[in-house]
């Protein structure tokens, strides 16, 4: 059967699917947002000393209009005896297009462009509206607001913690209690100077993934 109520019956599953997609997409967005060009961070200073803080960090982020990077991701799943690896490319185009292109082990494209969420892989191509994902839409939208330097929007979804110095910092994002249960328990971004080097996501069930970001430009 292919229409009417069945289509609707598939919705919760699809919502979960997109929830997962969007969570990952959001992480990618954060990662991309924090990849800064080297010159933006040319003067090392401590967070405490040089007036460097979250606002400054976000402000720098908001000036980026286009970013490309490679990624290597390793997932630690309780279910599997060995971690699973994946690699590919990330890109961001201001104001609101995020793309995660996996190349190995299996080609896959995930993009959030405006209101459109799209998944493509062999045998599957699906586009949905972000509006259909009420649980993650606030996350994506607040992150995009972040890319535009809107700290307030980021903090409506997450408690944001920043520690370390400008040349070795850690930003920790914890969703507020009332945010969707499908969100990760914690997202930790690690950066040095103007680069995000690592994104670590801890899922609600304890599974964890570590993404290293290389060659940001």
């Amino acid at each position: 059967m292919t229409s009417g109520s069945e289509r609707r019956d598939a919705r919760p599953a699809r919502r979960a699917l997109i929830g997962a997609i969007a969570a990952v997409g959001a992480t990618a967005a954060i990662a991309l947002a924090t990849i800064g060009p080297r010159h933006a961070w040319a003067q090392p200073a401590t967070a405490a000393a040089g007036g460097w803080d979250l606002t400054r960090l976000l402000d720098e982020m908001s000036r980026r209009k286009r970013t490309r990077a490679r990624f290597v991701e390793r997932q630690f799943l309780a279910l599997l005896d060995e971690p699973v690896d994946a690699s590919g490319e990330l890109s961001f185009d201001a104001p609101d297009k995020l793309v995660k292109r996996t190349i190995s082990p299996r080609p896959e494209l995930l993009s959030v462009d405006g209101d459109q969420v799209r998944v493509e892989r062999p045998g599957l191509a699906r586009t949905m509206s972000l509006q259909q994902l009420p649980e993650v839409a606030p996350l994506i939208e607040s992150l995009r607001a972040t890319l535009n330097g809107d700290r307030q929007a980021l903090e409506t979804v997450f408690d944001v913690g920043l520690e370390g110095r400008r040349d070795a910092w850690r930003m920790t994002l914890r969703p507020h209690a009332r945010a969707g249960a499908s969100l990760p328990r914690r997202i930790v971004l690690g950066g040095a100077g103007n680069e995000v080097r690592q994104v670590e996501i801890e899922q609600a069930d304890g599974d964890r993934s570590v993404m290293r970001i290389l060659d940001g430009r």
């Binding site: 059967m1 919705r11 699917l17 997609i21 509006q131």
Partner: protein, 840 residues
Amino acid sequence: MSGRRAIVLGWLLALAAAAVIISRTPFLADMSVFLPRTPTAEQRLLVENLRNGATARILLVAVDGVPADARARASLGLRERLLASQQFQLVNNGDRGSLANDQKLLFERRYLLSPAVTPAAFETAGLHEALRRAIDELASSTGALTKPLITRDPTGELLRLLGRLDVGDGLRTHDGVWVDPEGRRLLLMASTRAGGSDVDGQQQAIEAVHAAFAPIAAEWSDARLRVSGPGVFAVESRRDIEHDVHRLSLLGSGLIIAMLCFVFRSPLAIGLAFVPMISAVLAGASTVSWVFGSLHGLTLGFGITLIAEAVDYALYQMIRRPAGVGTGDGEVGAAAAAGTAGTAGAGAGTNADDGDAGATVATLVGSGGRTGAGGFWQTIVLGVLTSTIGFSALVLSGFPGLTQMATFSIAGLVAAALATRFVLPALTPAGFRPRDLGGLDRRLHRVCARLRRLRWPAAALVAVALAMVWRGHDRLWDDDIAALNPVSAAARQLDEELRGAVGAAEAGTMIVVTAGSQEAALQGAEQVGAWLDEQVAAQRLGAYESPATLLPSERTQQARRAALPPADVLRARLAEATRGLPLRAERLEPFIDDVQAARAAPPLTLDELADTQLGLRVRALLTAYDDRVAAIIALRAPAAAGSAPRPLDEAWLAASLPRVDGAVVSLLNIKQRTDRLYAGYLHEAIRLSIGGAAIILLLLAASIRSPRQVLSVCAPLLGAVVLTLGVFLLAGHRLNLLHLIGLLLVVAVGSNYTLFFRTLAIDGGGQRRDGTFDGTLASLVFANLAIIIGFGVLAGSRVPLLSALGSTVAIGAALALALACVWAQAPRPLRPPPTGDAAR
């Protein structure tokens, strides 16, 4: 005197009996009686089943004007209250809770539902491949979805099922509940417990929706509720019809009573005028109940018009005072005497077959045709006969509704004539003398004489109208069955809008697989489905929806179950299959358990699908009647390169449908078929009416025998019909079946006028020997006025069928009287009374 008492007693008993019959009759408002019967009994049953089945139980509910941040709460509250009302089997608002049953069912029954369950898939190689894919899936962006299920469903059957049920863009949600594409309107779908044809049940369900909405309305004053669906249509049309029948019959009767007050100025006379009226309505309604076992609301609405027609007889009888009875004290005596004289004639006329009746009437009218009750009654009998023949033509039509109306009219007219003929004189007290309208009559005669000068201009007008009708005959009739639809255009638009929003398209083209049992029908649907899969792959078809997808035949379910290996075999194969993979076989014990449970479980049945959206869908597509079961496969057109789908090539489909053993496979397009049938029936009804008109002409010719007089009787009738058609053509109205009935009524009512004018011409212009006028013309004018009031009121109805009928008859009857007057022969000068005058 005892004779009179017996007549009155008999009449009262007949009325009481009719009332008892009517009181026991179900009152219907289902519009399907005004749809043509489909050609084969099987298809008719199928269509009726579709109208009453699961699709007919769906109510679409929309709420506007709730602020964005409160929409989810409003929708959830509405759903809860709707379920609590006990009126609904299911209420879906897109919330996860409303789909929990479906998900549970799909997951638990995945091994019987999934087409991927084959023996090869459960061999070691198949399992290895499936597990490898599952691990890849885990590592992908969508891994979070499959992770919780992988140990129970490593082969991914649930996802496969969901993918199969999914075609892409779903309904938009806002905070987890359905909203329209603009995101402003809340949407819910509710399936009523009451059947689609249970209008009372549907009404209760709709009231429950309004009650459930009340708290929302109280909280947000801008909130607006809209409900649509087949049930709403049924309830609204019944309400409209009932309301109109009630209001219009009150208004019509009121106006007619006012007119009677003016005419008679005597309560007794007015009371007497009601005798034929009550007789006609009760006789018509009880005959229809007795013959058809039910009474349609529209037939009853139609019955209002009989009030006007029946009053005519009373007017003819009571206003007119035959020559020689001028002083009045002999009035009742005259009526009584006329009764005796006319009994044989009237009795023969109404009881005989058409052929004999012609002869009888010919004798009656031809023999006397002179002043007095005898001639008067012959005219009435002839009028009743012509009407009866006109309506008999419609009894033969394929529309049950038309047959009802025609039966109602025939019975009513005959009863009205009989009541006027026998009961009215019996009830009239001795010495009762209605007001003499001689003076008015005289003035009317003068007007008439002047109008006769217009005979040639009138003829020219009719000729012009005839030419117009001739030229425009192909756009005169409306072949679209929607013309008969009592549902307002606004309501239909709302329905389309809501249907579009929830993606519940109306049934279009479908393949019907009919077999002797549900199992055989499902097996047939599976075979057709395999062929349809190829067509979808070849892009000749967009998609299809078959009941067998959700409720596979038992044969298929058993084949799938047989493909599932026993626990120890599966465990051994898994140990082998997981070699080289990071997933250990021990973790897959839940999978082994689930497979064993599926092996032991009984096959999935229709009952098990109850309380799920999927079950609702299956029920809509699987319908049983007599000893047959039909599986309906709804088809969707292929998507074109652009956005609009290409239309289905139905001719190709019909020609290339696969054959299935033990089942009949056919293509059905309900809307098209109904339209085609309706056009056919409309033309058939037109032919029948023309045939009826021809018989009426023959009857008149046989009874009048003078070609010139036949022409003078018929010309005004035909002229009125042609002019009425011209009026509608000018107004840009397309005519439907009810206009046709109206035209028949014009002929029936108008034939009374022309026959009376003919009598007037023979009888010396309705003038008594003393030079005063007998009131015939006045009675005609008032009768005409009654018709115009009765039908004119109907023309104001919201129900298109009733307003079509009302406007046609009101216009046509007025034109018929005018033309009868204009074209009447000049009365012969009064001569001394001939010998053997029927009246004393």
